[in-house]
Symmetry: C3
Subunit: 255 residues, 3 copies
């Protein structure tokens, strides 16, 4: 039996909203420690990794590890019905369950329960090495979202360079070019922390960065970790309880 109640149901809703444009089908991997999702996007360009610790739930019970295969669009349809302050209780059988039951309860006179059909999804769990990064940038998630969205009007590829003066996001395109420089700042409202061992400059597809920023409602800050020649990590920490991480390989410049 898997059974767990998430008091802030909207966190789960925000996770599904964050990944559903990237990932069509995925497993909810439930274990004693956590509910996790790991999936390449449908074009096999980026990787999504979600973790919700068992401690994020009330009454967490997972008798044996189980992979619940969901279609994210269908899950999203059901979560549309979640009230703003509703909790979600998940329930599934241990032995190849056909469906995942979800109970939405608020303080109101209404209770809703849904059964989402499950499917078998073949996946290969990728081991992600926990390497140190040469640059780590922490900034407001909504500011990162704005930069990525804005720069898309200029071109497809964004150069992110982390150096002494700060982090520079640059795009060159047909109508001109643009640079947005974000500097370290201790201002409370607008804090930017940059840890840099060596300057790093990498190119990324704005289209994917833009997908990642769908996770903005989950976290106040985003953490961007970069080293030369390895995928960038764009992490949205979910306060106390887990994270949504996106990995994207840099574009190789053609000469």
């Amino acid at each position: 039996m898997f059974e767990a109640q998430l008091v802030e149901g909207k966190t789960f809703k925000a996770i599904i909203e964050a990944i559903k444009d990237l990932v069509v089908d995925c497993n909810l991997d439930c274990s004693e420690e956590e509910v996790a999702i790991q999936s390449m996007d449908s074009a096999h360009v980026s990787l999504v990794a979600v973790r919700l610790s068992a401690s994020a739930f009330s009454n967490y019970r997972c008798d044996r590890p189980n992979s619940l295969g969901i279609n994210t669009a269908n899950m999203s349809k059901i979560l549309k019905m979640l009230g703003k302050d509703d909790s979600i209780t998940f329930k599934a059988e241990d032995e190849s369950p056909d469906s995942l039951t979800m109970l939405f309860e608020g303080g109101k006179s209404t209770i809703a329960d849904f059964e989402l059909k499950l499917m078998d999804i073949e996946t290969e769990q990728l081991g992600i090495p926990d390497t140190p990064y040469q640059c780590t940038i922490q900034m407001r998630a909504d500011e990162f979202q704005r930069i990525v969205r804005d720069l898309q009007v200029l071109g497809d590829t964004c150069t992110i360079s982390c150096g002494k003066e700060g982090v520079r996001f640059s795009v060159t395109g047909a109508i001109g070019n643009g640079n947005i420089l974000v500097r370290s700042s201790d201002e409370d409202k607008d804090k930017v922390t940059i840890n840099m061992e060596e300057p790093v400059e990498l190119n990324f597809a704005l289209r994917y960065l833009n997908f990642f920023t769908k996770a903005t409602p989950l976290a106040e800050n985003v953490v961007i970790s970069m080293s030369p020649d390895v995928p960038v990590v764009v992490e949205y920490p979910i306060e106390e309880f887990g994270h949504v991480k996106f990995y994207l390989a840099p574009k190789i410049e053609e000469d």
Copy 2:
């Protein structure tokens, strides 16, 4: 001469907005007692009945009963110009009038007057028997709207069953199924009153229930009346002055 002023012009606007997706052309039936509309929807599946008592108007004058045939989409276009706090004064000749004059007046320096062309519409007035119903449910109109809208993502047909524990709205579809249970509640903000003689369970097309909920802005509460094998009545009472009622026959289950 028909002449009448509705101080809260927005009530008339909300009525037209509530019915215009269902009813293309209809008569405003003006008499000494009331302005009324009765019309099948264009697919002849549901029935709309509107009543605005003469007492809802100031300076109500209707020298002889008259049917003013309007196109609801055109009426809606003109009502788009109604200011939030404007009154509407209606004027029409007695003898087969060509047009209905409407005057929009607010407290401001602006007065607007419009003439909407009228048309001849053949209708047959249906006598609606005023029968008692086995179940009558009164609940917040916006909550009913939310349930109907939400369940539409799961399927086309909604089973409404009224029993001891409350009213259950159920839908079964390709991606899974859902139930929303609404229980009696005395909470002021979220009051639900259920009067039940016998349990009733009926199936309805969600598409039509959804059309009906366009009347939500007209009333805080909706009253749903059901008996086996007869059309459900979904009533939006207009405080003191009338109502908008929708009738919809239940779907017959195929075996």
Copy 3:
């Protein structure tokens, strides 16, 4: 060298938004006194004239008059990235510059700079005679916008008649007709001032009036100046610093 900082960058953004649906390409004519735009719309029906006095800028420097040919849609794309409280610093070389540099700076940890490619645009500067008008109407810009937008649902041509009782906007169309009368008013919130030597009645294409009202965010009031047989002027004064003016020839009634 042309270099100038506009502290309220959003004013420039609002100007470009106001004209970009009418004018595809235009010159920013920079001189010692002002930055100006003058252009026919792409269908050569109306004329747009913008003026921003040098005094609107800080650190204004224009060594020699220069015409910077921009595409308004591309300029608008870049201005999408302007923060709400950002200033804009413009920079361009004197000798046939390839690009216009714009610096967006707010109080925040972020600085953005953009280079917009410039183009050569052939224009013929039209001398606009500064004639007195028989009627001048000053009214709230948002009220004028509402009237123009509302009346469009009735027809294509609006008759504006200025007479003793006020200004009447009239439209006749297939579904009926409408008149909106705006009277002089001293009310602070809703002030309407009408200066009339002789009554004037002219017909205009609502489509163009509607384009002009894109300038509504620039000014609290709009000033409409009319004389028989000459183009109407719809002016949006930019407080202290300039204006956006639109000129539109009246429609000739066919008999």
